[in-house]
Symmetry: C2
Subunit: 334 residues, 2 copies
């Protein structure tokens, strides 16, 4: 049973207005959104960070989250990685005719909770409905806007030899959760997505440590791909110590079963922080005081050697190049 979405609810007419009022405005209401003009009017200060992301994750509900809160966390985090304070989100929904309206409401309510927790407001939205089979249930685009709080925002271009490479916690949780859930696998211990908004953690880092060089969240493509991007943008090498890289035992064994490498799996609530080596302890102290940075640790260093490359020193002392994610097909992970 349950109410199903009709094509008409995307027509822009009366049925659309009712859907917007009943579902979207009810959960996401705020004075800016409530004006319902063609565009929202905001008055932020100073330079801004802007990021956009579309979410097509399958399944749409998974242990630890759903496509709604993920769409908030993902974009909040991208804005936060510029050392900015995320303030505003826009949301674009593409919905399939026949989609369950109770599921839609559950997703929108989850977005509202995630937005409230992250301190951002949804200021503009759009809903399109396409015929059965023209989309898979629900896709969400979010665009985030935040105020830049630092005079020198962190950037993938700013890694320098001698910098320490820190991660805020264990790797691969989100990716393994989605892939194992999709395949109907269960493990001895529960595994769940790490999806969370990191903006309070990044703000603390920026306030206490002016000299953060790079902040980046290793989502699609995982740690290895993100570090390759940074190595190339900054023209530096990155050397990692494999034994130092935190991976939950259940994720490590799940990866073995599925033939996956946790260093290439998506994370949705973790960040990479690169800053001068002598500040590493201070950064770790800040991160470990935050629940989302409890397992933070130094995993490597930035080098002048091997510019553009990421080199992993394994537990046995061998070295291997970690390239970007290549040839694997892990669609709809976020």
């Amino acid at each position: 049973m349950g109410n199903k979405l009709l094509l008409d609810q995307g027509s822009g007419g009366l049925a659309s207005h009712r859907l917007v009022a009943d579902v979207f405005l009810r959960h996401l209401a705020n004075p800016v959104l409530a004006r319902m003009d063609d565009a929202a009017l905001i008055n932020p200060k100073g330079p801004l960070a802007v990021s956009t992301d579309s979410f097509t994750v399958d399944p749409i509900f998974f242990p630890g989250g759903d496509i709604g809160c993920l769409a908030v966390h993902g974009t909040v985090n991208d804005v936060a990685m510029l050392g900015a304070k995320p303030l505003y989100l826009t949301c674009g929904f593409i919905l399939e005719e026949g989609f369950d309206l109770d599921d839609l409401e559950r997703i929108v309510a989850s977005m509202a909770r995630a937005a409230k927790k992250a301190g951002v407001r949804v200021i503009a939205g759009d809903t399109k409905v396409v015929g059965r089979g023209a989309a898979d249930k629900i896709f969400i685009n979010t665009t985030g806007i935040g105020e830049v709080v630092s005079s020198r925002p962190p950037s993938g271009h700013r890694a320098r030899p001698g910098d320490a490479v820190i991660v805020s916690g264990t790797l691969g949780d989100h990716g393994l959760t989605i892939l194992s859930h999709r395949q109907g696998l269960s493990f001895e211990a529960p595994v769940q997505s790490d999806c969370a908004s990191l903006n309070r953690l990044t703000l603390k880092l920026m306030q206490r440590l002016e000299r953060v060089h790079v902040l980046r969240d290793p989502t699609r493509g995982g740690l290895a791909t993100t570090l390759n991007e940074i190595a190339q943008q900054s023209g530096v090498g990155i050397h990692l110590e494999e034994p130092a890289i935190p991976v939950k035992p259940v994720v490590a064994s799940g990866c073995e079963v599925l033939g996956l490498d946790p260093l290439y799996l998506a994370n949705e609530g973790k960040l990479i922080c690169i800053l001068p080596g002598k500040l590493a302890d201070q950064a770790l102290a800040v991160m470990r005081r935050d629940p989302l940075g409890r397992d933070a640790c130094v995993i490597g260093t930035v080098t002048a050697e091997n510019p553009g490359k990421v080199v992993l020193r394994t537990g046995l002392g061998g070295r291997r190049l970690l390239g970007m994610l290549e040839g694997e097909q892990l669609p709809r992970i976020c």
Copy 2:
């Protein structure tokens, strides 16, 4: 033949980076986008107008445009309707595995031309690839940011009794083009989408006529639905003179064939301007000097009677209520 999109190109790994470099950056490049951090850094002035819109139009190529330029025009126009100067766009692509890469390139090139013409820069983007059958070819979300140039931005809440209601040109062109193209119909005269960016026209209006009360582009749901929204937001009545409403003969006859009402069809390059009646001639003069406002005319007035309603006086002198679009199924018109 032709190159087809692979799932791998949405993985976030090496294949994704190549796609971004080969297609997106090549056409849309600018210094902000080129930094390729998690978020873009911009430094706009003063209050901002922000709007988001997803585009799912079917067919993706149609007479007068394509989903790419439409995604630029649509969001540029929404920002412009706040009397703002659109400056920045973000783009989120959701692509179906197997989508033709030549078509993708044609669409991105069309976006680039439309953005250049409108004077906006694409500052951030995202690409997701979903499996065959999980989306229909290509969906595009654009979010636009513009600087508000007026101390009292136009708003759907500001229509006042005595105001004139002006449209910038003929109605129904886009909607009829899409629907007839989809059904394989052709008419004696060519019909094509009016899709265009109206921001230069709105800027002229705002500069010459401080007292513009409402600007709104009548897209999905058409003129009738948009005027109902304004009547409700402002708590006023809107009286229209049917003979004054401009509709191209080919659109009028096409609508008769298909059983459609041009007042409910989507427009993608037209605006409604509502302002004090005594300024109507001045506004018409400004609009008619612009190629996109050549056919501008006054179509009605704002009244204190019938608050929240739109009343149409027909050519025969009768009156009827024009409600919002209701019960019709015209999906994927934009």
